[in-house]
């Protein structure tokens, strides 16, 4: 079974600064997807960024980028130029990329509460 660990329950950052959220995972699979989701107080889980394990290049989406270290099973999220609207719970998630079938479930970490201070 896959596990996802987020070792930082809470973090804070000043507006306009950069912050990095950590995530490690454990799997015996070689082909999978990794995601970062954001959950603001509105409760809706919003996809921030995704990474395919077979791609060595780190994914980027505007101010959000990841540092994917496959051998170390590490998948950290860097938020640049932090904004007040980035305040939310951030969840790291793993999905196995099975072939032949629709068995695609997400395994989440426990989350990191990020607060951006003015």
């Amino acid at each position: 079974a896959q596990t996802v660990t987020q070792s930082q329950p809470e973090m804070s950052v000043q507006e306009a600064e950069t912050v990095t959220l950590s995530c490690t995972y454990d799997t015996s699979e070689s082909n999978y997807y990794l995601f970062w989701y954001k959950q603001p107080p509105s409760r809706q889980m919003i996809l921030v960024i995704r990474q395919e394990a077979y791609k060595q290049q780190n994914a980027t989406e505007n101010r959000f980028s990841v540092n994917f270290q496959k051998a170390a099973k590490s998948f950290s999220l860097k938020i640049s130029d932090s904004q007040l609207g980035d305040t939310a719970m951030y969840f790291c998630a793993f999905m196995n990329k099975n072939s032949g079938g629709s068995n695609y479930k997400l395994t989440f970490g426990k989350g990191t509460l990020l607060t951006v201070n003015p």
């Binding site: 989701y37 695609y104 997400l106 989440f108 970490g109």
Partner: protein, 113 residues
């Protein structure tokens, strides 16, 4: 383009009762998954429906059951409610295989008293 719609938003039930939660997937999506999120925790996978069949199930008892309709909408049913079933229930939809990520609804907050 409507995203994932869940109803109701909040619900209070008594121990032992039964509850039905509903989900309409995002337009163009045909796979629906349900997750339970306890307070302060990450979501836990309950089950996934595709082509009106349960394709995969997480570690949840048989009291949790579901259904998917021909229009891809889905229901989550929980029988014999326990206090521990109090949680946020999230519905997520995707295209087949979910490779582009799932779109989540805002959830149903269930409180069992």
């Amino acid at each position: 383009d409507a995203g994932v719609t869940q109803s109701p938003t909040h619900l209070i039930k008594t121990r032992g009762q039964q509850v039905t939660l509903r989900c309409s997937p995002k337009s163009g999506h045909d796979t629906v998954s349900w997750y339970q999120q306890a307070l302060g925790q990450g979501p836990q996978f309950i089950f996934q429906y595709y082509e009106e069949e349960e394709r995969q199930r997480g570690n949840f008892p048989d009291r949790f059951s579901g259904h998917q309709f021909p229009n891809y909408s889905s229901e989550l049913n929980v029988n014999a409610l326990l206090l521990g079933d109090s949680a946020l229930y999230l519905c997520a939809s995707s295209s087949p295989r979910g490779r582009y990520g799932y779109t989540f609804g805002s959830g149903t907050r269930l409180t069992v008293v």
